[in-house]
Chain length 321, copies 2
């Protein structure tokens, strides 16, 4: 006998993630009840993974559970907030329990590490699609925003860029690489590590922040537009992994600018806070690289030393490909 929606939720999702004292009522009622500290603002975000768009058919369920939460954690990280409570909406063609078990393992392990409690959601039949809503907390007025960067601020990015897109290219058979390089890139695509600790450490340090989901060029452009500014970026400064360099050689910077799904943070800070940025990176245990400087003229000017470099942006967009 197949299981009902309620039985599946009870079996795989009830109690998933961290146990939090501020959850008054979790899964199993019409809605969850949670307690927000009076000194905090509430941070709300949602993001989805759709088969054929954000992942290939047959993608490992454990990776999907991880990624569905990670892409939301990354939004919370970009606000400098602490993640707290998640809701999960899962559309499945059929109730394959092995799939659900693996999905819950991926989701639950990442939720545990970031103290996130799964407090509700729903299962429905449908084409495979996963939507997570994540709520977080940030002391009132201290949230990081896309707006706030000033001309002459430095521009930074965490981690390395373009790896996830490289991993996807490996999956598609578009990149032939030594196994260790391919594995590194694949791991970066399937199990991105949202920069929550870095976001927290950047409160009071970064002047503006955005997460890199559509590619650095596209997301940095959003931060710059919000500031009414542009940036001069040194392509030699773009952080590129050894695996991506093995894949793309001297063109690795192009892959770093265009590749999406890295879930790194791109942020600005006044020059005078350069030491504070380094301290935040050290505190978070996360590499941070200064890639350029904000300028008054609009757009991104790519430099290699004194040479201006041409680049056609092609950030991913769902409705204009």
């Amino acid at each position: 006998v197949a299981s009902t929606e309620s039985e599946l939720i009870e079996r795989y999702f009830n109690g998933l993630g961290a146990s939090r004292a501020d959850v008054r009522l979790g899964i199993g009622d019409d809605a969850a009840l949670v307690q927000v500290p009076p000194e905090d603002e509430l941070v709300l975000t949602t993001d989805s993974l759709v088969e054929g768009v954000h992942f290939l058919a047959g993608a490992p369920a454990r990776s999907l559970g991880h990624r569905a939460l990670a892409i939301n954690l990354s939004d919370i990280a970009a606000m400098g907030a602490s993640p707290a409570w998640a809701l999960l909406s899962l559309n499945l063609p059929s109730a394959e329990e092995a799939w659900l078990r693996e999905f819950a393992l991926g989701f639950g392990a990442l939720a545990q590490r970031h103290s996130v409690a799964l407090v509700g959601g729903n299962l429905s039949r449908g084409a495979l699609a996963i939507t997570v809503q994540l709520a977080g907390l940030v002391p009132r007025g201290q949230g990081l925003r896309r707006t706030g960067a000033a001309s002459d601020d430095d521009l930074y990015v965490s981690g390395s860029l373009g790896d996830a897109a490289g991993g996807l290219a490996c999956l598609r058979g578009q990149l032939a690489l030594p196994a260790s390089d391919a594995q590194f890139l694949l791991q970066r695509f399937e199990y991105p590590e949202p920069r929550v600790a870095l976001g927290l450490a950047l409160r009071g340090v970064a002047s503006a922040c955005i997460d890199v989901s559509d590619g650095l060029y596209a997301d940095a452009t959003r931060l710059l537009k919000a500031a009414g500014a542009g940036a001069r970026i040194e392509i030699g400064q773009l952080p590129v992994s050894a695996a991506l360099r093995a894949a793309h050689g001297s063109n690795a910077w192009r892959a770093a600018l265009a590749g999406g799904e890295d879930y790194e943070l791109c942020f600005s800070a006044p020059r005078a806070r350069a030491a504070a940025v380094s301290a935040a990176a050290a505190q978070a245990g996360c590499a941070v690289t200064r890639i350029g400087t904000l300028v008054q003229s609009e757009g991104i000017a790519l430099h290699s030393g004194n040479s201006l470099i041409q680049f056609s942006p092609s950030g991913f967009d769902h409705f204009r490909d």
Copy 2:
């Protein structure tokens, strides 16, 4: 030139719904920032509509916008809470702007009426599916729950039952009715009115509450199981509209017990609060009917006067049909 995801969000969703002073940062950043009053608990819920499961292909976009929010408002209503902030995840096969305009009209009108601000979300390509997350507020400790009903409490339901299922049957050509009856039932399916005002009025009055989404029999059973109790329900007391009676005659009570998607509230209250229940119904401007009484033995016993009536439940379930 087709529009980008950002342009579509800006055009159809930015500023949708009510304008709320507690929204510090709405659509356009990595996440929204909102302010929760210190005396309140936060209520979190999510629910989805999937094409082919919750609605037929070609369903009017305005109805879908309304229903996607209504099904979440109904969960908030069942908690006795005030709705506040919504997030919307929309998977669309293509960006048809006429569809988006109608969807936004349906969503926006209902959001306005219930003081809900749309503060974030995302658009993705994919099979048509709509997920809404709704956050609400309830004074600490005053939220209504599924648990809490006691033996000898009275059992109530709002509005009339089975109409939405009747409307869907009309759409499918399974019910032939006079136009005015069909229109009434269709309206109940396409534009359900969540009982938010009733939920608020039932705080401190109802001992337990659940919304009726899968059919009264299925949802009342959940409330009763949470109480470790059963109920004696008088089938002659089940509230049935004139249109549903026109459709099903003396079997209308079966349709009332089994039909889903009505989004009425089913709740219990001690006999001593019967006058308070009437006052709550009057305050909310919403019909409420006493349909039975909780008993110590498990399950639902259906009575017609002194006769025990047989009924095979068939509440909708996604993974066991």
